[in-house]
């Protein structure tokens, strides 16, 4: 299992660093906007998980259906302040390592990331797949914003991620014009189908607050992915027994 172990090492190092940076970025950019949005929500919007009322109103049927602890009226939620920050930071670090596992494993199928510069390009790809493409149809949401059915949005999100990743891979690694055209078609298709949208976009959240949030989420994720890819590329050849092959100028 040495390959698996090495991938985990590379993902742990790059994911830990990128996750810590992302947690810091969120603390100063996105989290204050979320807290601000919650003041609108508590002023009469629909329910929401941060205030411990989620699942108690009819607006959260999807959450109710699969709630594991129906015995409790209100599910546990971290207390505002340090506890809430700590759980967010932990989620960021764990997800940084998890995204790192995906990035490193997939890049190993393509021969491995040879250096930090190639890693930056791999990071751009991860950003395009996991943030940019799904974010076009389903822009980052603030609490209290109207949204379509949760499960249908999660399905669209997942299919968009898969289609965009497959499309990029066809363009980057198959040197064939028809396959490149197919790749572009795969990237475009989810947006022709269209993301599930709410019946009305009327929202208690001011448009400029939402706009600031979309920018903050997109830029903080871009930094996260670039750091993740660059660090993975920087440490990769120290762990893997086979050196990454140069892509002969095809990618970096």
């Amino acid at each position: 299992m040495s390959v698996f172990r090495n991938v985990v090492f590379i993902a742990a190092i790059s994911g830990l660093l990128a996750g810590v940076i992302l947690a810091a970025l969120q603390t100063y950019s996105t989290d204050p906007l979320i807290f601000k949005a919650e003041t609108y929500e508590n002023a009469g919007g629909h329910d929401h998980g941060a205030a411990p009322v989620a699942g108690t109103e009819a607006t959260a049927p999807a959450a109710d259906a699969q709630a594991v602890a129906p015995a409790e009226e209100e599910a546990w939620a971290p207390a505002d302040g340090f506890e809430r920050f700590a759980y967010s930071a932990l989620a960021n670090i764990v997800s940084g390592i998890a995204f790192g596992l995906i990035l490193v494993a997939v890049s190993e199928f393509a021969g491995g990331i040879a250096n930090w510069r190639q890693g930056v390009f791999w990071g751009f790809a991860g950003f395009a797949v996991f943030t940019l493409a799904p974010g076009l149809g389903l822009p980052p949401e603030l609490p209290a914003m109207p949204a379509a059915d949760l499960v249908s949005r999660q399905i669209w999100w997942t299919l968009t991620v898969v289609a965009t990743a497959a499309g990029l891979a066809l363009i980057a690694f198959k040197q064939s014009l028809p396959l490149a055209v197919l790749g572009v078609a795969l990237i475009v298709a989810p947006h022709i189908v269209g993301a599930p949208q709410p019946e009305s976009h009327e929202s208690p959240i001011p448009a400029d607050l939402h706009h600031s949030f979309v920018v903050a989420v997109t830029i903080s994720n871009l930094v996260f992915w670039v750091v993740l890819g660059a660090v993975a590329g920087y440490v990769r050849n120290r762990f893997m027994s086979e050196p990454a092959q140069s892509l002969n100028g095809r990618l970096a």
Partner: protein
């Protein structure tokens, strides 16, 4: 992982592919759990993270 195949197939290459697939699946599972779990407790703990990563929420 170091069994020798009598048919002469490339065992180390197969094992490598298996291990890479395993690593990718583990990553996908953790991301899915953090970003997509309908469990209230997971949702609440990772709430700000979910919004900040633009996962579909609520």
């Amino acid at each position: 992982m170091n069994t020798v195949s009598a048919l002469g197939t490339d065992v180390s290459s197969q094992s490598r592919i298996m291990q890479l697939a395993l690593a990718a699946l583990l990553g996908l599972f953790v991301v899915g759990f953090l970003g997509f779990s309908h469990m209230e407790v997971v949702h609440n703990a990772a709430h700000d993270y979910r919004h900040s990563m633009a996962f579909p929420c609520h």
